[in-house]
C-alpha cells in the first residue's frame, strides 16, 4: 500500500506545482502605525501580478525585536519602519541585504544614513512641541523661542512630555535636548525643567488627548511633545471644518528632533525581485504623495507634492536636531537611565 501511496502523493504535488500560476505573495512586516491608500497598493499589485500582505507587529521597538528574533527564517520579505533611533540596532543585527535603488539619486543625502544601502529612507517627521494657540493668545504669553525658554517661570507647569523609556516621541525629544545641551549638560536642563513643573506621562495618547489643552481633551497643559504634522491633522480630522489650525509647533533651532524611517529587504527573502520593486515603489512619487495623509509623515522624495493641509499648517523646522544613529545605539540605555534618575526619582 505504502509503495503506491508515496509516488501518488509525490505526483499530486508535482501536478499542483505545475498548475495555473497563482500570483506571488510579498509580505511586508511593519509597525502598527503603518497605513496606505487601498488604490495605491492595488496598483502595485496589478502592475506586478503580486499580492501584498502586511504584518502589523506592534510599536516600532516591538516590530524590530520581532524581525531580529525571526531573522534566521524571516516572516517577511520587506521590513518597513525602523527609525534613526533604532537604525544601528537593525544594521548590527544584520537584518537587511543591500539594495541600491535607482530612485535614491533623487533623495537628499541628509536622509541616507546607511552608506551601504541596507536601510533606505522613506519618510521623515519632526518631533516638536505643539502649543495651544488660544491659550497663549488669551494669556498674552509669548511662545517659547528656545529650549532654554522652557525653564522660565512664566511657563511653569505648562509642558507635558512623554517618558523616553516608554514612548518614541518622548525619546526623540530627549535626544533633541542631548543634541542641544550635550552630555551631561542635558541633565541640568532637565533638572531645571523638573523644577519648573514639567509633567511626564508614559504615552503619547495620554499626553495629547488628556493633558494637552489644544486637542479635544481640554487638559491642563498648553504645550505637548508631539509631531510637526499634528497641526494639519487637527484640521483634517476636525469635528467641524476649521479655518485655521488650533495648534502650532515650536520650531526654534534645535527644538525639534528629526525622525527618519527606513525600509529594508530582509536577508533570506525568496522574492528578491518583487521586494526590490516594492522598495522602489515606496520611494516613488505615487507612494510618497500618499504617505502624508495616511501616516502624517513627510516624503523624502523631493518630487512628491505635499497635500494642501500640510503646506498650510505643517511647519518644517529649519534646524532640526539630529544625532548619529551609532551614538544613539551606544548610549540609549545610559541616557534614558540618567534621565529617569534626574526627572522621576
Amino acid at each position: 500500500m505504502r509503495k503506491i501511496l508515496i509516488p501518488l502523493l509525490l505526483g499530486l504535488l508535482v501536478v499542483t506545482a505545475c498548475g495555473p500560476r497563482l500570483p506571488a505573495t510579498l509580505t511586508v512586516m511593519t509597525h502598527d502605525s503603518f497605513a496606505v491608500s487601498e488604490e495605491v497598493i492595488r496598483s502595485f499589485e496589478e502592475e506586478n501580478n503580486v499580492k501584498v500582505t502586511f504584518l502589523a507587529s506592534g510599536d516600532t521597538g516591538t516590530a524590530l525585536n520581532k524581525a531580529i528574533l525571526s531573522k534566521d527564517a524571516p516572516l517577511a520579505d520587506v521590513f518597513y519602519g525602523v527609525d534613526n533611533t533604532f537604525l544601528s540596532r537593525a544594521l548590527d543585527a544584520d537584518l537587511f541585504e543591500p539594495y541600491r535603488s535607482p530612485l535614491l539619486k533623487d533623495i537628499p543625502a541628509e536622509f541616507q544614513l546607511d552608506p551601504q544601502f541596507r536601510a533606505l529612507p522613506v519618510d521623515y517627521g519632526d518631533v516638536c512641541i505643539n502649543y495651544d494657540k488660544a491659550y497663549f493668545a488669551e494669556h498674552n504669553l509669548p511662545v517659547p523661542q528656545s529650549l532654554e525658554d522652557l525653564t522660565r517661570p512664566e511657563y511653569r507647569g505648562l509642558l507635558v512630555v512623554e517618558n523616553p523609556a516608554t514612548s518614541s516621541p518622548g525619546l526623540a525629544f530627549l535626544l533633541a535636548t542631548i543634541a542641544h545641551f550635550g552630555d551631561p549638560g542635558y541633565l541640568d536642563f532637565w533638572r531645571a525643567l523638573r523644577e519648573n513643573g514639567v509633567v511626564v506621562v508614559n504615552d503619547w495618547e495620554t499626553a495629547y488627548y488628556t493633558n494637552f489643552s489644544g486637542s479635544s481633551g481640554r487638559g491642563p497643559q498648553p504645550m505637548v511633545v508631539s509631531y510637526g504634522s499634528s497641526p494639519p491633522a487637527e484640521v483634517i480630522f476636525a469635528e467641524q471644518p476649521l479655518e485655521d489650525a488650533p495648534t502650532a509647533s515650536l520650531v526654534g533651532p534645535g527644538m525639534c528632533f528629526r525622525q527618519i524611517e527606513f525600509v529594508g529587504i530582509l536577508k533570506g527573502t525568496k522574492n528578491r525581485d518583487i521586494a526590490r520593486k516594492f522598495v522602489d515603489f515606496m520611494l516613488s512619487v505615487r507612494f510618497q504623495e500618499d504617505m502624508p495623509l495616511q501616516m502624517f509623515v513627510f516624503p523624502v522624495n523631493p518630487n512628491a507634492k505635499l497635500p494642501e493641509a500640510f503646506v498650510r499648517y505643517a511647519q518644517i523646522p529649519e534646524k532640526p536636531a539630529t544625532l548619529d544613529p551609532a551614538l544613539i545605539a551606544a548610549n540609549r540605555e545610559k541616557w534614558i537611565q540618567a534621565w529617569m534618575e534626574t526627572v522621576l526619582r
Partner: protein, 567 residues
C-alpha cells in the same frame, strides 16, 4: 477544619488514570501553546552573566517590591468591596440585577487607554469632580490628585477586578444551605457571628480562588500602571516591556519574566495547598432558597449603599465614554473661552466612512463580527478544555497539585515575552487568524478552571452515589445531579472567557493581519492620531464595544435562569 467534615464526606477522589485522561486535552494544549513557546524564548534570551551584575538585582528588587506591594493592597481593597457586593447579589432580590452585574463585567474587557480616559474625565485634574469642587470651594487648583498616584492604580484595579470576586463568591453564596445559618440563629448567634462562624468557613475555597485570581491580575498589571500610574511606577510586567521593547535589552526582560513566573508558581502552589485545607463540601441548595427582597431597614440601607457604591465606582468612570461619543466639544478655537457643546451623531456616521480610502480602514460591523467570532471560539475552546481539567483538579489528590500550578501560569507570564516566544515557536503560522482564539484561550483557561474548580469540589459525592444507587448511569447521574448545580459556574466561566477575548488580552502575542481587525484594534487605530474626529470615533467605537459586551453578558445571564428549578 477536620472536625467539620462530619457534615458530608469530602469529594470523591478520582482514580489517577481517569484524572490523567481528563487533564490530557488541556495539558496538551498548554504544552504546545504555552510551555513550548515559553521555553523557546527563555532559552534564546536568557543570559547567565546578568546574574552577576549588581544593577540587575537592583532593578529586580525594586520592581518586584513595588509589584507585590501594589498587588497586595489592590487585592485587599478588591476583596473588601467584592465580599459585601457578592452578599448583595447572592442574597437579595432587586430590580435590574442582571443589568447591574453586566455593568460590573464591562470594565473587565475595556481597553486600558479608554478606561484611563474615563477616569480622567471623572477624577482627573480637569475631571468633573475636581472642576465642581473648584467652583464650589473657589479653589485655583484641583483639590484631588488622582492621575499618577498610587490611589489611581488601586482604584483602577478595584474597577477591573471586583467582578471576579463577585462572580466566584456569589455562586457559592447562592447555593449554601440556608438551614445552616438558620440553625445558627436559632442557637442565638447574631448576624455577625453567623457570618463569621457559619457562612465564612464555607466560603473559603471560593474566596481563595477569587483572591488568587485577583492577586495575579494585579500582580501582572500593565496598562493601568503605565497609563494611570504614570512613569513613577513600574511593575515587573511594565519593566519587561520597557527593557525588552524600548531598550532592546532582551536578556534582562527574560530574567524579569522568569522572576514573575516563579512568583506566580509560588502563589499557585500556596493556593492549591490552602485549598485542600479549607474545602468543606456542603449540600448545595437551589439559589431561590437564599434569595429574598430586602425587608428590614438595615437591609435596605445595605442595598442602597452598595448600589450607590457600584454607581460611583463602576458607572461614573465609564459613563463619560458614551457621553463623549455623542457630544461635540467645539472649543471655538482661536478664541477659546466658551466651549460650545452640541449633540451629534457625526462620530458614529463617520465610522462607516473610509475618508482617506485607507487599506486598513476598519468597518465597524466587520470589527464587531470578528470580535464576536473570536469570542465565541474562545468560549468554546476554553470550556471544552477547561471543564474536564477542572473536574480532574477538583477531584484529584496530591497528584493533581503539579498540573494545578501549571494551569495558572499563563496568567503570570508576560505577554511581551510570550509574543516573542510564539514567534520563535510557530514561525510563519504566527500570522494565522486561527491562532487568535487559541491565544485568547491561553488567558481564558486559568479563569475558567479557577471558576469551575471550587464549584465542582463543593459537590458532595453522596449526591452522585445516591443517584447511582437509584440506578442512574454515571452519565445520567452527572447530567441530572451535577450539571444543574454547575450550570451557573459554567456560565460564569463562559462570561469570563468571552470578555477576555473581547478585551484582547494577550493580543500582543501575535502578529496582526490587518484583514481581520477587532473592535479594540479599531479603537487603538483612532486614538493613535490627533484630531477631534479621531477621538470622537474612538469613543464611538468603545461605546459599541461596551454595548456589545453588555448585550452578550445579558444573553448569557438569560441562559442561567431557565424556567423551573434553578440552581
Amino acid at each position: 477544619m477536620k472536625d467539620k467534615r462530619f457534615f458530608v464526606a469530602a469529594a470523591l477522589p478520582l482514580p489517577r488514570k481517569t484524572g490523567f485522561l481528563l487533564l490530557l486535552p488541556a495539558g496538551l494544549f498548554l504544552t504546545i501553546f504555552y510551555l513550548y513557546p515559553l521555553a523557546r524564548i527563555l532559552s534564546s534570551a536568557l543570559d547567565a552573566r546578568l546574574l552577576l551584575q549588581q544593577a540587575t538585582w537592583n532593578t529586580v528588587g525594586r520592581t518586584l517590591g513595588f509589584t507585590v506591594y501594589q498587588a497586595a493592597l489592590s487585592t485587599f481593597l478588591t476583596l473588601a468591596i467584592g465580599l459585601p457586593l457578592s452578599l448583595l447579589f447572592a442574597r437579595y432580590e432587586f430590580r435590574g440585577k442582571s443589568l447591574w452585574r453586566a455593568m460590573m463585567t464591562v470594565p473587565f474587557m475595556l481597553p486600558t487607554v479608554v478606561v484611563a480616559a474615563g477616569f480622567n474625565a471623572f477624577l482627573g485634574e480637569r475631571g468633573w469632580v475636581n472642576l465642581t469642587l473648584m467652583r464650589l470651594l473657589d479653589l485655583q487648583k484641583a483639590p484631588i490628585p488622582f492621575t499618577g498616584t498610587l490611589i489611581a492604580i488601586l482604584v483602577a484595579h478595584v474597577f477591573y477586578n471586583t467582578i471576579l470576586v463577585v462572580r466566584i463568591l456569589a455562586h457559592t453564596l447562592e447555593h449554601l444551605d440556608p438551614r445552616l445559618e438558620q440553625a445558627a440563629r436559632v442557637l442565638g448567634a447574631d448576624d455577625w457571628q453567623t457570618f463569621w462562624q457559619v457562612t465564612f468557613p464555607l466560603l473559603r475555597p471560593s474566596l481563595l480562588a477569587a483572591t488568587s485570581l485577583v492577586f495575579l491580575f494585579d500582580f501582572t498589571s500593565f496598562g493601568v500602571i503605565l497609563l494611570l500610574g504614570g512613569p513613577k511606577f513600574a511593575t515587573l510586567e511594565v519593566e519587561i516591556y520597557v527593557q525588552g521593547m524600548h531598550l532592546l535589552h532582551l536578556p534582562l526582560a527574560a530574567l524579569l519574566s522568569v522572576v514573575q513566573l516563579l512568583c506566580t508558581a509560588a502563589q499557585a502552589w500556596l493556593y492549591s495547598r490552602l485549598l485542600n485545607r479549607v474545602i468543606t463540601p456542603f449540600s448545595p441548595r437551589p439559589a431561590a432558597a437564599n434569595i429574598r427582597p430586602a425587608r428590614r431597614w438595615r437591609e435596605k440601607l445595605f442595598l442602597v449603599g452598595m448600589l450607590s457604591l457600584v454607581v460611583v465606582l463602576f458607572l461614573f468612570p465609564m459613563v463619560s465614554v458614551p457621553v463623549r461619543s455623542v457630544v461635540r466639544m467645539e472649543a471655538a478655537r482661536g478664541e477659546r473661552g466658551q466651549v460650545h457643546y452640541g449633540l451629534t451623531a457625526d462620530y458614529y456616521r463617520e465610522l462607516f466612512v473610509n475618508r482617506l480610502s485607507s487599506l486598513f480602514y476598519v468597518p465597524p460591523l466587520e470589527a464587531a463580527r470578528n470580535s464576536l467570532l473570536y469570542g465565541l471560539a474562545t468560549v468554546f475552546l476554553s470550556l471544552i478544555l477547561g471543564f474536564p481539567a477542572a473536574t480532574a483538579l477538583a477531584r484529584g489528590n496530591r497528584w493533581a497539585r503539579g498540573p494545578d500550578i501549571l494551569f495558572l501560569l499563563p496568567l503570570g507570564t508576560s505577554a511581551v515575552t510570550m509574543g516573542l516566544g510564539f514567534l520563535l515557536a510557530f514561525r510563519r503560522a504566527v500570522t494565522s487568524p486561527w491562532l487568535v482564539p487559541l491565544a485568547h484561550t491561553l488567558i481564558a483557561l486559568p479563569l475558567v478552571v479557577r471558576t469551575l474548580q471550587p464549584a465542582i469540589a463543593s459537590i458532595p459525592p453522596r449526591l452522585q452515589e445516591a443517584a447511582q444507587v437509584l440506578g442512574a448511569s454515571p452519565w445520567r447521574a452527572w447530567r441530572t445531579v451535577e450539571w444543574p448545580i454547575l450550570r451557573r459556574a459554567v456560565l460564569a466561566a463562559a462570561t469570563f472567557a468571552f470578555t477576555v477575548s473581547l478585551g484582547e488580552f494577550g493580543a500582543t502575542l501575535l502578529l496582526a493581519r490587518p484583514e481581520y481587525p477587532t473592535l479594540p484594534v479599531a479603537i487603538y487605530r483612532f486614538l493613535s492620531q490627533p484630531g477631534g474626529l479621531n477621538y470622537g470615533q474612538a469613543m464611538a467605537m468603545t461605546t459599541i464595544l461596551m454595548a456589545f459586551t453588555t448585550g452578550g453578558i445579558l444573553l448569557i445571564e438569560r441562559l442561567r435562569s431557565p424556567a423551573g428549578g434553578e440552581f
